[in-house]
Symmetry: C2
Subunit: 355 residues, 2 copies
């Protein structure tokens, strides 16, 4: 049995797990399926070769170490499942399993008890293995390169959209396959909206320019933010805001190591910004876990008290969104190590005037 499946079972309270999220299945057996409305499930338990329940509409080659159980639209799903699931077991299902599948499983009593089994998968995914770390390093390396290109595109009157529209081509030329999320390009006051989507706003002298961008490389995500100044350096207050955000980022990154509480990493950054007098303008959590998906289970926030584990990967992204002075965010990805962390983004944090 592969190591990832073994790790999930070791973390699970259920006797068996029926995993239906295509991304979790990709993580466990390295095959992507797009089942649409049809059922897809991977059944795992100790001492059994994993069973993949796969509709005949999605043909697959043999998968090493996995038995494929073909199902068709005319099969009764619960009949097929009950051949493999022990009716006296406690069955863990995905948090995202839909009622149209779960209700018939319960009515037909294919297990004794049904529980939400996702945490075992989510916590296993949160600890990256060597291969995953390599892919995430590469994905962020490409993102650093893309940032260096992106900043050269600015010119008077170019719109946010016109810059954002060029990014996919840049990523492709650097070897990435696509976006990990829709890029944020924000000029001037728009940078004070943390979720601003690129629009027809045109760049003008003295604007703040915020890029929050990420790609996927062999399925793994990057995610970075930098805030620049167009043609004119920051005024006194903007410089203060920028340096507070930078210090919040760097103090938090210095604090990160194995075994600290995620909420305390958030607090390290938040204290910097609060002590600087801008606490009410830092309106979101400090970071989120990331891997195959841009947002994975795990938060760096005041309410998330779990301890970091070595090889967790998450973002550190403090921001100040003050409509009267500026919006600013500086975001890196980090890998937790025993003694500290590895910062994946090498693009500098310095104040930079572009254009």
């Amino acid at each position: 049995m592969n190591k990832r499946i073994e790790n999930v079972l070791n973390r699970s309270e259920a006797d068996e797990l029926l995993i239906s999220d295509p991304i979790a299945i990709f993580y466990l057996i390295n095959k992507r399926f797009y089942p649409g409305e049809r059922f897809l499930g991977l059944l795992i338990k100790k001492d059994m070769t994993p069973k993949l329940f796969l509709n005949v509409l999605f043909p697959s080659e043999k998968i090493e170490g996995v038995d494929i159980i073909s199902i068709s639209d005319t099969d009764v799903l619960t009949d097929v499942l009950s051949r493999y699931i022990d009716k006296d077991s406690c069955l863990g299902v995905d948090k995202t399993l839909q009622a149209r599948f779960l209700l018939p499983m319960q009515e037909n009593k294919i297990a004794r008890r049904f529980i939400n089994g996702s945490l075992a998968v989510d916590k296993t995914r949160a600890v990256k293995d060597e291969n995953e770390k390599q892919l995430m390093r590469k994905s962020s390396e490409i993102n650093d390169q893309a940032m260096a290109i992106l900043k050269t595109l600015v010119k008077d009157d170019i719109s946010e959209k016109q810059i954002a529209d060029q990014l996919l081509g840049i990523y492709n030329s650097l070897g990435a396959e696509g976006f990990s999320f829709e890029p944020i390009v924000a000029f001037g006051k728009n940078a004070a909206d943390p979720h601003h989507m690129p629009d027809d706003t045109k760049l003008k002298y003295g604007d703040v320019v915020l890029f929050d961008v990420g790609c996927t490389y062999k399925g793994y995500c990057s995610d970075m933010t930098r805030t620049f100044f167009y043609k004119k350096g920051p005024d006194k207050v903007q410089e203060e805001v920028y340096n507070l955000v930078r210090k919040a980022n760097e103090d938090a990154e210095n604090y990160v190591r194995k075994g600290v509480r995620l909420c305390d990493i958030d607090k390290t950054a938040r204290d910097v910004i609060e002590n600087g007098g801008y606490g009410r303008y830092f309106t979101h959590r400090l970071g989120h876990f990331i891997g195959i998906e841009d947002h994975e289970y795990g938060d760096v926030s005041s309410s998330f008290k779990d301890l970091t584990e070595t090889d967790n990967v998450f973002s550190i992204e403090p921001g100040i969104y003050d409509p009267d002075t500026m919006g600013c965010r500086i975001e890196d990805l980090v890998i937790v190590t025993d003694e500290g962390c590895e910062v994946l983004n090498k693009y500098p944090h310095d104040i930079e005037v572009i254009g």
Copy 2:
């Protein structure tokens, strides 16, 4: 209580319905929410003002005829729900309700029984009211206009992607807000793949050109396919294939009326193509229902035996995908009437040489 909610309750077997699909909620109360991972639910039952359970993170103005029940991330969802749901009731939940919500509802016994209640919503949505029909007519009218523009973009060596990239701008200029699905542009042999995505394939003399495109207008979808010939008319076999597909489309559209079986509409088209000797190259259902979503509940297929109702709206899209001669599909949307149907797409079915 509004008419749509009343219609859903009339079709429902459950005592109460807890609807969580944001699109179904939009349909019922004309407000769009994007709850992400958070719970959103609309509880409806006879003789009760509908209750909308809405996280405080998604503030809303008052909604006419709906009570908004605010929930926050620190509330226990099942406690809040149980104040409004009768614990002895049979509760209909959405087919898409996720296990992370359904399992705690069951454990806390907020209802006596849980059933999949989606069919009542889906079947109500399948019958369009006057306002919806008007929006769908307009959406298809824009799509007809877009098709006429699209065909003028062809030239030697232009790629499928280069054409597809211009379509959003065309739709916007015609008053539509976006795509109803990712457009299909297929040249030459690519037209023989019914789900081909636009790539860097370049257009060349004598190619077949297939456009399968649709927009949304005030939230309502259009969806149409036409197959053209670039600079050179069809050869004898291609003409035969084209005319078979056209006859399949038109015979099916002529067959449509209130009270016929959807599978028999499919058969009408399929018989034409089978009798012409191309049956094995017509590899998908004849059509799908459509409205707020491009694919809604309801199929025009051999296995869907339901009868049409007046004001159902669906696609009629026969195709022949023969890699050795050509791929061809002709698709219109139709509204079922008592005596026949209204074909929403006016763009002609004739063989047309473009470029």
